[in-house]
């Protein structure tokens, strides 16, 4: 019994992280009807961006400079074409952004010498890392997805597959493929009650994921931008005709998605180490969204928890029977069962049918 509760608890905590991954897939799917297969790469990239800021990692100039230039080009582009700033504003702001990024990458942020408390360091580095991840997300959207606006969602989905390989290659080029030790050193909130033991890291992961999830929902359902996102998600043409710039909205959605994936990535890296090979964890989002329903935000939460629990149950009860690795397969078996009973997932949208 104690075993069971312990297992369920850890399952739920991990499940919350998966739920966040699911959410990232769902909002992109709702907005552009594409499945983002590059989620694993976004996850590593987001973690690395945070890593650079938090652990004061520096890059040699021949790696930092191209990244700075890329940021410059992108910023100028967005300022000029999307925000419609004038040329004299767009170029300098791009230059500033590019230069800042270059400096951070080349000289390092050296947060640790400025702030001694690791919690404070985390609080400072997290938003910056997430912002960076968001920018990468929007950059990717601009370059790969926007040209396909109005085309079939399938082509976007295929593009994300290729994009995944491309990003992975880039990450390997920049940071190599060895493992980076990743230890956030957050305050210890290990819960030990009688026979139960919940470790600090998974609790932090669960809390922060849930918090991020909640913030995204509040943003989507309580803000004016969220309303525009929901309108665009339903129909890009209609949104455009009523003055909502669908293209910019899509960019925002990708940015939010990349940002949330980064949160999940950082939490997952914190369980062990960070390395390129970790990207497969992102694909856990597939059973999550398929179980919960591709277009259901609540479904992502439930689906995430189901997958987390299922995985941890399999780990505790089935793997000891000699089936090593069953933990990774269990969610997919569950997925098959769910899809057999409910092809649209548990919470797929009830389509409004007019009579």
């Amino acid at each position: 019994m104690i075993d069971l509760i312990q297992t369920l608890g850890s399952g739920i905590l991990v499940g919350l992280v998966y739920a966040l991954l699911g959410l990232c897939i769902v909002i992109i799917f709702k907005a552009s009807e594409a499945f983002n297969f590059a989620i694993g790469e976004f996850l590593i990239l987001g973690s690395f961006l945070f890593y650079v800021l938090f652990f004061n990692e520096t890059l040699p100039w021949h790696r930092a400079l191209p990244l700075g230039v890329l940021i410059f080009l992108f910023f100028s582009y967005v300022f000029f074409f999307d925000i419609r700033a004038r040329f004299v504003i767009a170029i300098p702001s791009g230059l500033v952004a590019g230069f800042l990024i270059f400096c951070v990458l080349f000289f390092g942020l050296n947060l640790s010498s400025l702030v001694s408390s690791s919690l404070l360091r985390f609080i400072i580095a997290l938003p910056m890392g997430l912002l960076a991840a968001g920018f990468v997300g929007s950059m990717v959207e601009r370059i790969t997805i926007k040209p396909l606006l109005g085309r079939s969602p399938i082509s976007m989905t295929i593009i994300t597959l290729g994009l995944g390989f491309f990003l992975r290659g880039c990450i390997q080029l920049i940071w190599g493929s060895h493992a980076y030790p990743f230890f956030l050193d957050l305050p210890d909130i290990t819960m030990e009650m009688g026979d139960f033991l919940f470790l600090s890291d998974p609790i932090w992961a669960g809390i922060l994921s849930l918090l991020t999830f909640g913030l995204v929902i509040v943003f989507l359902f309580r803000s004016r931008w969220g309303l525009a996102i929901r309108a665009t998600s339903e129909d890009q043409a209609k949104a455009m005709a009523f003055g909502i710039n669908s293209r910019f909205i899509l960019l925002i959605v990708w940015a939010i998605s990349a940002l949330c994936i980064a949160v999940a990535g950082i939490m997952i890296s914190n369980f062990g180490a960070l390395q390129v090979g970790m990207g497969y964890v992102g694909l856990r989002a597939i059973p999550v969204v398929l179980i919960g329903g591709m277009d259901s935000i609540g479904g992502a939460l439930i689906g995430g928890i189901i997958v987390g629990v299922c995985e941890s149950l399999a780990g505790t009860y089935i793997e000891p029977m000699g089936l090593i690795g069953f933990k990774d397969v269990a969610p997919y078996i569950l997925l098959l069962i769910v899809l057999f009973i409910r092809p649209y997932g548990l919470f797929g949208t009830v389509r409004i049918e007019r009579v």
Binding site: L149, A231, E234, A241, F242, G243
Partner: protein, 261 residues
């Protein structure tokens, strides 16, 4: 205020839909465009509003001008914001999964300010039925209510010129009548209206001038009264006669060409 000069539009680089249309919309009028299915009316409105690009169409010749400034090739949202031109798409362009209130809010996205709430009240003033169901999802509203909502959403954008694409499509005659009377009320508040309709009789009833479009060309124009009395218009669009069959044959030939491409 709006002038269209010799406009030619193709879809996917090959399907030619508008073959040189010229027309003008005068300040404060209700201009009616009538034409059969597939004549290119919707395409015309898409070209004016900048939505054509979204449907993979191109303006290959001609120009669209607002008060003398060319708006050809601008983004739909830019045209809407800078020239106060709002296009209400055909088939009741409301967001089904948002509530009525959210729909109105979404439509005011481009000009969100303190007055949005007051404008919403104004819309409810025109369409009282919407007020009573403002928390309901638009997808569950009836066709007439959806069309009213669509026009209400357009009003939230504060247009000077409103392009309406077949608002009466699929609505009961009584509701159509109500809708048209509101449209002409809106016109009296100073909004210029360009109304595309197949329901020629009702539309010409509230219009000042009209054009008849066929196969991407303007074949007839005149005041609403003239068109109502015109022999051809009566046979083609207001009643049925021998010529109906001829136009049917045209439509068929057109379809064949499309398939062949």
């Amino acid at each position: 205020m709006l002038s269209i000069e010799n406009l030619r539009v193709v879809y996917h680089d090959v399907i030619s839909v508008l073959n040189g249309i010229s027309l003008g919309v005068k300040d404060g009028e209700v201009l009616i465009i009538i034409g059969a299915n597939g004549a290119g009316k919707t395409t015309l409105l898409r070209s004016i509003s900048g939505m054509i690009e979204f449907y993979d169409g191109d303006i290959i010749e001609g120009d669209v001008k607002m008060d003398g400034t060319s708006i050809k090739g601008l983004d739909a949202t830019d045209i809407m914001k800078r020239f106060d031109l709002t296009y209400v798409m055909e088939d009741r362009p409301v967001f089904w999964y948002l509530t009525i209130e959210e729909n109105l809010g979404a439509a005011s996205f481009s000009r969100w300010d303190k007055r949005v709430k007051a404008d919403m009240e104004e819309v409810f003033g025109y369409f009282p039925v919407l007020r009573s169901m403002k928390g309901k999802r638009a997808g569950y509203a009836s066709g007439g209510e959806q069309q009213m909502l669509a026009i209400g959403m357009a009003l939230m954008t504060k247009p000077k010129i409103l392009l309406l694409d077949e608002p009466s499509l699929g609505l009961a005659p009584l509701i159509t009548e109500e809708l048209f009377s509101i449209i002409s009320q809106l016109n009296q508040t100073g909004i210029t209206i360009m109304l595309v309709e197949q329901n020629a009789h009702a539309a010409l009833g509230i219009g000042t001038r009209g054009y008849v479009v066929e196969m991407g060309r303007i074949v007839l124009d005149g005041t609403a009264q003239e068109l109502l009395e015109n022999e051809d218009v009566r046979e083609f669009y207001l009643g049925s006669g021998k010529k109906e069959r001829k136009s049917y044959k045209d439509a068929k030939r057109y379809k064949r060409r499309k398939r062949w491409l």
